[in-house]
């Protein structure tokens, strides 16, 4: 458990943050239903980091300690893995409370690494957190595919299509492989080939990362995800496969 106890005494507090999040969530996220049992905190790997735990965070929100919550770095150390809500007898949506707490800070004051990755994704239509362009992606995929078709003749017919209309599956791709270790894309292509799967990447929205979501920048998240989904829809694919 986090060690420092909550200091009470400020009667002017209005729990504005908690009430705002309650309005956003179905059933108010059950945010008023806490029994203070501590199941969330005892099973949370982030308990104790930044002198915080999920129960303490929720109590602070309930007590209207909005400024302290906004000042805490803990929402960036919680991965929103949902183990707390899974264990909670009252199904309190603490992860959504955390997500919204991230947005309490001005965008430019959020962690620079996440901010930079989101800004990279907004730079072009790839939505890649590493900033690779659609042209870069197409070049790498074609280059690697050609190399493997020649070197491993059993896979001479293997495909790694980009923008194939009417494919069954739209697959996105983490940027790490095309940018830093392209050979690691191949095993998945082989499996799809051997299974006879009709699939495609998209030239737009192929980047599988979603750092704008982690940044709690809703507009940017909507833009990048929307671009990827629109590309899948334009191609007429039936299923979107998120490899992240």
């Amino acid at each position: 458990m986090a060690e420092t106890v909550i200091q009470l005494g400020n009667k002017k507090r209005k729990s504005a943050f908690l009430n705002k999040v309650k309005e956003l969530l179905p059933e108010g996220g059950n945010l008023n239903a806490c029994l203070t049992c501590g199941l969330c905190a005892s099973g949370c790997p982030a308990t104790g980091l930044a002198d915080m735990d999920p129960r303490k965070f929720l109590r602070m929100a309930a007590l209207g300690m909005d400024e302290e919550i906004a000042a805490s770095d803990w929402p960036w150390m919680c991965t929103m893995c949902q183990r707390c809500i899974y264990a909670c007898p009252m199904k309190i949506d603490i992860p959504q409370l955390i997500f919204n707490a991230r947005a309490l800070r001005p965008r430019e004051q959020r962690p620079v690494g996440i901010l930079g990755s989101c800004d990279m994704a907004l730079r072009n239509d790839s939505c890649s957190a590493m900033g690779a362009t659609p042209e870069d992606f197409e070049f790498v995929v074609d280059d690697v595919l050609e190399e493997y078709r020649e070197a491993q003749p059993e896979f001479a017919d293997m495909e790694a299509p980009i923008d194939k209309e009417g494919a069954e599956f739209f697959l996105n791709q983490n940027s790490r492989e095309p940018v830093t270790e392209p050979d690691e894309m191949v095993p998945l292509w082989k499996i799809l080939h051997l299974a006879g799967v009709n699939w495609t990447y998209g030239s737009k929205g192929w980047g599988g990362e979603n750092y704008c979501m982690f940044l709690a920048d809703d507009d940017a998240w909507k833009k990048t995800t929307g671009l990827s989904v629109a590309q899948a829809n334009d191609l007429g694919v039936k299923t979107y496969l998120n490899t992240e």
């Binding site: 790997p45 960036w76 991965t79 050979d183 690691e184 998945l188």
Partner: protein, 156 residues
Amino acid sequence: MNSDWNKDLKIKFTVQDPCQIVRKSYGDPIAEDLRFVVKSVVGEENFIDMQPNRSNNYCCGGGGGFLQSGFKEERLKYGILKDRQIKDTGADYCIAGCHNCHAQIHELSEHYGGNYPVVHLWTLICLSLGVLGPNEREYLGEDLKDVNVFHPETAL
């Protein structure tokens, strides 16, 4: 697809249940699917589950943007639970089906000295199918670099 390649080697594997696909999306049934594939590939007798597991599994600490948040010390501390879970299985390898998990657990393995390789599931599927080339083995340990190699003459 079978596990014949591992019949005599008996290399042990555990698997990280990704929070995103298991607890947050499809629940225990997809965790069973994951185990079906893993056991088919490495052999049932060579698979060891972490405790706890499936929907009760602990997050590794790679999710939610933590990898890019700048709080490295805290992220590694978060991952102590995961590293201990993996070491307690006694497995030689940890399979990570999620990209963030792969990056985080790989770092935990090095940082806390376990030095267990962390491998993508696609690598092992292709290994068991006999179609994994010499240059597609970035995350395999030395014990598997030369096993069942497809077109070994293409090694770089």
